[in-house]
């Protein structure tokens, strides 16, 4: 890899994606601004991200940037075009364990699921993996010495 990606960001006007990277040869830290073209509040962010990643001029610089991350940056750009604040936009891309996801719209829920999928994919055992076991049974010891779950502490309020 010629360029080592360090950090990513966005610029709203004109809509652009910013990459801070290190040039391997010169050992210099540089910044690259990549304008996102033909992008509107109706655009498909995953397609736009793919287009950028495969762009002939930017490809080499974006090698170390995961597609998912580029997609999220496009989400932020599109949210801005739709009139959302940066805070709202970032919150929708973050997982808040106390948030009730039942109340989200399809698109918002999809964002949260995409976040969760990252952990899922990291921990995923696939059929092709040499140590894959279809019927994997693990017994977890049961007994009175088990820790009580802190989630049960406010029991009375919920009528559990």
């Amino acid at each position: 890899m010629e360029f080592v990606a360090k950090r990513c960001g966005v610029k709203f006007d004109p809509p652009s994606i910013i990459l801070v990277y290190e040039d391997r040869k010169t050992k210099k830290i540089r910044q690259r601004v990549m304008p996102v073209r033909n992008f509107s509040k109706f655009s498909d962010c995953s397609q736009a991200a793919e287009r950028l990643k495969n762009n002939a001029r930017h490809r080499a610089y974006l090698e170390g940037v995961p597609l998912r991350q580029l997609e999220r940056l496009h989400d932020v750009l599109r949210d801005h075009l739709r009139g959302r604040t940066l805070e709202e936009s970032l919150a929708s891309l973050r997982l808040d364990p106390d948030q009730d996801l039942n109340k989200l719209s399809d698109e918002e829920l999809a964002r949260k699921k995409a976040q969760m999928d990252e952990l899922f994919e990291r921990n995923r055992k696939r059929k092709e993996d040499p140590d894959f076991v279809y019927d994997l049974e693990v017994e977890f010891p049961k007994g009175d010495d088990q820790e009580t779950c802190s989630w049960d502490e406010d029991e009375s309020e919920d009528g559990f």
């Binding site: 989200l104 899922f120 921990n123 055992k125 019927d135 994997l136 559990f160």
Partner: protein
């Protein structure tokens, strides 16, 4: 979800009365991993039936229980859970329930109480398994006691749809429980109906006029 959900009571569910068919339903909040669990059990390449007009996904599965072929329909919510409540037809004729929460999100655990309450309104007797999913994210949770299951006298399974821990066991046990519920259903009306059906068949075979009334009395006096 923006409206447009047809009435799932239009679906033909009489088929679940056949001996070799069972219906197992999944319950739980959005994004607890219900579909991921189904997919891990059935493995990739499986294409479920999307009944999007009913906000419902059906997974069909064939297996053998005690040497008998059994057709299992797994019902998954496909977003219907976002109304915080399911259509009564979702519960109708179900033989077992798999109730899932996400060990990383307390609210999904707390909401079990609501799901369970609704389940029991429609299906007071069917077996129900509580599932603690995503244990791969934090194995320490398997040391914890989740009181809800214990309090309701329900079995609790620690599973991970990602690495597969206890997923197959969960579904196999759910099918077994569904079958045994079906065979030993304590639903009184079901039993009465079955007795009456048997009686009518016997009657036709006997064809003895004078004994008819006597035997009828005997039958209806069954406990």
């Amino acid at each position: 979800m923006a409206g447009g959900t047809s009435d799932i009571s239009e679906l033909d569910q009489e088929k679940y009365d056949a001996d070799e068919r069972v219906k197992v339903i999944c319950l739980g909040d959005s994004a607890v991993g219900k579909s991921k669990l189904m997919e891990r059990f059935l493995m990739d390449g499986y294409r479920p039936e999307q009944l999007s007009t009913y906000a419902l996904t059906l997974y069909k599965y064939t297996t053998t229980v005690n040497g008998k072929a059994v057709l299992v329909d797994f019902w998954d919510t496909a977003g219907q859970e976002r109304f915080q409540s399911m259509h009564p037809s979702y519960y109708y004729k179900a033989h077992a329930c798999i109730m899932v929460f996400d060990v990383q999100r307390k609210i999904t655990y707390k909401n079990l109480a609501n799901w369970y309450k609704e389940l029991r309104e429609y299906r007071p007797e069917i077996p129900c398994i509580v599932v603690a999913n995503k244990i791969d994210a934090d194995m320490k949770v398997t040391q914890r006691n989740f009181n809800f299951a214990k309090k309701q006298g329900l079995p609790l399974y620690y599973v991970s749809a990602a690495d597969g821990t206890n997923v197959v066991k969960l579904f196999k046990d759910a099918i077994k429980l569904a079958m045994s519920y079906k065979q030993n259903s304590s639903d009184f009306m079901d039993e009465v109906m079955r007795e009456l059906e048997n009686f009518e068949l016997e009657q036709k075979e006997e064809s003895s006029d004078k004994e008819e009334n006597v035997s009828k009395d005997e039958k209806t006096n069954l406990p």
